[in-house]
Amino acid sequence: MEEIRIGVYICWCGSNIAQLIDVKFIAGEIKKLENVIISRDYKYMCSDPGQETLIADIKQNKLNRIVVAACSPRIHEPTFRKALEKAGLNPYMFQMANIREQDSWVHIDKEYATLKAVALVKAAVSRVKHHEPLNKKSVEVNSATMVIGGGITGLTSALEIAQAGKQVYLIEKSDSLGGITAKIDLTYPDLKSAGQMIRPKISQVQNHNLIEVFLNTILEDISGYVGNFSTKVRRNGTSEEITFGNIIVATGLKPFSPVTIPEYKYKVLPDVITSIELEKMLQDGTVKTSDGSKPDNIAIIHCVGSRNEQYHPYCSRTCCSTALKYANQLRSLLPDAHLFDIYADMRAYGKGCEEFYTNTSNKNIMFLMYDQKNGLPEIRKANSSDNAGMIITFSEKLSGENIEVPVDLVILMTAVEAHEDAKEVARLTGISLCGNDFYIEKHPKLDPVATTTDGVYIAGTCQGPKGIDESIVQAKAAAAKVLSMIAMGSIEIEVAVSHVNEEVCCGCQTCIMVCPYKAISFDEEKNVSVVNEALCKGCGTCGSTCPTGAIKSLHFTDIQILSQIEGLLKTESETI
């Protein structure tokens, strides 16, 4: 075996580390250790001169192990691994000691902080001795994509990918394409026809030779990993298998049902309707009450099921602007009707929407504010003397008065909910849901359409309530992500994965039960577990559960972890 030659570098991180920790002292202490050839301190190890020093040292002194004591490995581990590669070393022959977040930033006592830093670096030195070179692996990417959901988001993603010349399988549960967009009359704030927007998209999708549309179809199972998925789809009682490299989930939304809100008497009073029901009337061109007469007084109630702990705590984001759209449409259809807009807070966000609000407020619409803290508006049937079908009563916030509003028709701006199939699709694709059943993105700001499962993307209202414009932004973003993956042809996969020693494996399958990534399968013939390296994230759960010690987590082997602990404990007993 070759001689172990370790280089240790203590970073000052400007003053972040050096002002509390005596870096020179650490460098001196570490220099005394066995196998440590070089021990230096430097102002910024991540800087170009810092990296160049490291590379030069490796070359000149034939170093074969490197330890950098600096910030969190989340920030600069890739930087230093790259430097090792440049110097001709395997990048895994490296260990980082975090003496910033775990030490200088969280302590105030200089002496103890320095001793702790010495311990952390000694642990890293002790560990790095047992590192083994690991080689990069890659898998080929199947250039087909499966899009789940045939609403405006799914259609847009499918078209983007097909127009780039790649195969798309578009899966839709219902018997038609278009989703919610096909059910609405006009869009806000421009008051343009939603139908004229969605119909060309549907026919483009249906006529595209690279898009295969599966209507009335449900997914039975999805297996595989990024670049190589396969699924069984069932339509018209027959099952068929398709394979693809990426998945875009666009399962969309479901309108909240207000029957659970007693104050609004939905389904009790016939002239209390939901926004989707009004859209149908608007598409047909006539707005009427249940007895077929023209309503003289119409109220629109906002936040039905939104921003209320009892129903949904979140803002559904589209309803305020949609309500303003209704006010405009109703004003044109019924010029003499009295329109009441009963809102909790007017949140007409987005390009052109505040202007839309301003314009709408000049159309003789009475805006009334309620506060959900003081209870919801209550709708009751009117008496014959009231000269209206119903009466809405509530405490109007801006006047501080309890008021009555006479109405003939009430429109409830119902909340946006995650689709009822969201949970099932999450289970099939291995992605996660937030508390409100919308899908969780990999990073809410930096990676909003990716998920924690590689190769699975989310777009549109399945990720959270949003309008058509934002759904399309996400649809195109997800398509771009997929296309860039396809363009690469193959992808590098994690190498610090689990490995099963087939000689030792007893076939108990405990590892299969605990794996959160569905990365382990069972080889019936050999009676052993098999790790799919493309799916494995190297979390180590299987390794620590395995009763026979057959599973080794690469780069986190028992000896590596134990020697790290040993290095840590040894320091403490010697110095304190």
Binding site: H338, F340, S361, M366, L368, E396, S399, E401, I403, E404
Partner: protein, 363 residues
């Protein structure tokens, strides 16, 4: 429970030029208003009541009368909703609400009727002149008698009933119980406020305006007293004559300044002028000037040859007495001071009620 009325705001349109819809209730006007208190959110509260058409709330409240139109709210308003002018419009509207005859509503909402009424009164005066064959002395005698009759009848049939109506709407109908002793104890303040308008001084930088207004009120009232009760046009008493000149001059000089300001439109208070505002300030000016000139003509002995001047004065006086005083802006003189009195009574009634509640709880 108040029922909203979307049509109500249209009824208010003739009373002011502002757009009720512009206000989105940020509250800047209330924050800047010197008269605003926790229980009195001026002027926002009034604007909201208009937007919702809460008629009873507007009728029952005297808040608009507590505003002296310093204009701070209009300057601060981010939406250019002109809250100051909204309050002014509410005062015009409330003037018609308190008027039991309903005549002021017609005058305030129709320029045509208003101008026609002025012309009819002018024609009537000319007719009376003709009845007396355009002889100066009998006409002057008639004019003097008319003044007295007008004062008594307007006071008895219009001013008093309207004030009672105001009380009924703002206190009695709302079942606010004020002990008699409290009612009496406020009367001194009522009189002081009526003749000094000292509440104007609560508004910022209003001292000059208050002083002008104060001496105008004083000048006008004393001019009225001098002509009616001291018979200024007929007296030989040199002190009364000089005194009349002074108060007459004050009246037309101050009103001249007011007119110039309304034309220049620099201050918020002078920016928007309803026909009723113009009529009030111009007629006051003409009254002061014509009275002053008549006495000048008497003193230099040419009044006999200039009967027309007295006829013109009588026309102005008659229009003032039968239109502007009972059905126009003149009434603000009374409504403002009574509003302060009523607001004070309401406040006292409320604190008495709270005290009683406290005693009930502790007992």
């Amino acid at each position: 429970m108040n029922r909203v009325d979307p049509k109500f705001k249209d009824k208010l349109k003739p009373y002011g030029i502002s757009d009720w819809n512009e206000c989105f209730h940020c509250g800047n006007c209330t924050a800047i208003c010197s008269h605003s208190e926790d229980s009195l959110l001026m002027p926002r509260n009034g604007i909201r009541a208009i937007q919702l058409g809460l008629k009873d709330k507007i009728h029952n409240n005297v808040d608009p009368w507590l505003c002296y139109y310093c204009g701070d709210c209009s300057e601060e308003c981010p939406r250019n909703a002109n809250p100051g002018e909204l309050m002014m419009a509410l005062r015009r509207y409330l003037t018609t609400v308190y008027d039991w005859t309903g005549v002021s509503r017609i005058f305030y909402t129709s320029r045509t009727v208003m101008i026609a009424a002025f012309l009819i009164v002018a024609a009537a005066v000319v007719g009376i002149g003709a009845m007396y064959s355009f002889q100066l002395e009998p006409i002057m005698e008639f004019g003097h008698l008319f003044e007295k009759i007008a004062i008594i009848s307007v006071a008895a049939f219009i001013l008093l009933p309207n004030i009672i109506r105001m009380f009924r709407l703002t206190l009695i109908k709302q079942k606010i119980k004020v002990p008699l002793s409290t009612l009496l104890s406020g009367i001194a303040d009522l009189v002081i406020n009526m003749f000094t308008q000292k509440k104007t001084l609560d508004c910022k930088e209003n001292r000059v305006r208050w002083f002008e207004h104060f001496i105008l009120v004083l000048g006008y009232l004393l001019l009225l007293a001098t002509t009616v009760f001291l018979n200024w046009f007929g007296t030989d008493n040199i002190y009364i004559i000089i005194f009349g000149y002074v108060v007459g001059a004050i009246t037309f000089i101050v009103t001249f300044d007011f007119i110039i300001r309304r034309i220049r439109k620099k201050a918020e208070i002078s920016k928007f002028s309803h026909l009723s505002d113009w009529m009030f300030v111009v007629w006051l000016f003409l009254m002061g000037l014509s009275t002053f000139l008549i006495r000048v003509f008497i003193d230099i002995g040419i009044i006999q040859d200039h009967l027309w001047l007295y006829l013109v004065h009588l026309i102005i006086l008659a229009q003032w007495a039968v239109i502007i005083v009972p059905f126009g802006k003149w009434m603000h003189f009374l409504y403002r001071s009574f509003a302060i009195y009523i607001a004070e009574m309401k406040k006292k009634a409320l604190s008495l009620k709270q005290q009683n509640q406290v005693t009930t709880i502790t007992a």
